[in-house]
Symmetry: C2
Subunit: 111 residues, 2 copies
Amino acid sequence: MVKVKAESQKCGTASEKLALPDVAWAEDLAKLSWALAHPARVRIVRLLLDRTSCMCGEIVEEMPLAQSTVSQHLKILKETGLVQGEIDGPRVCYCVNSDALAALKKLIADL
Amino acid sequence: MVKVKAESQKCGTASEKLALPDVAWAEDLAKLSWALAHPARVRIVRLLLDRTSCMCGEIVEEMPLAQSTVSQHLKILKETGLVQGEIDGPRVCYCVNSDALAALKKLIADL
DNA sequence: GTGGCGTATCGTAGATCGACGATAAGCAAT
DNA sequence: ATTGCTTATCGTCGATCTACGATACGCCAC
């Protein structure tokens, strides 16, 4: 839906520049894309989608990575908003933020 | 903020393993996502989509980056296959590879 | 060929990532 | 309060990214 006005002219005039909102838009998409820019994070998201929720320890078992490394990836995913964790006693139950995922899908689809 | 659903579901003993193809799939998606994991590259792709094709020099003028930096971003985009450049005399006309873009859209949409 | 234009590559420097082990922090049960 | 389990953070290392200027390459026009 974030359509940009058509400046579909020939590659002759460099007069047009990207609108300011476009910069923020690019940063949003870049941030979300960056969250998925590592295979481990992609697999984590996939895992959470398959299970709807999951503990950190289980993710660790699925991947050849140390617990601290997985925790860091989860932190990144949380910072981008793609994943959220709910404290459940001594554990944390992670799940995908479907709103953020939908936003990413829309940004990509509207590309 | 966004709220999360109940944590009641215990993530019991389902020690499922990701299928092997899933690893390759994750790497593919990660690679494509990585291409868009930088605002400059997002803007480049957007610019190319708006114009269907564009020279490197024009991209440079649209962004506060040196020509060599833009060239490096273009190289990354080419390596991922999202963008391709046609040599047109002394210049290079870049355009988005719609197949690769469609592949990315599908990978994201199927998430 | 020479010159000029557009692009790619090189080399460098600073910042960030990705990985790990070690350690701290939080909560439930004893 | 102490123990045990789960997760987060710290500190560090090597690798990679990002940016830039400088330079090399390719292609026309002259």
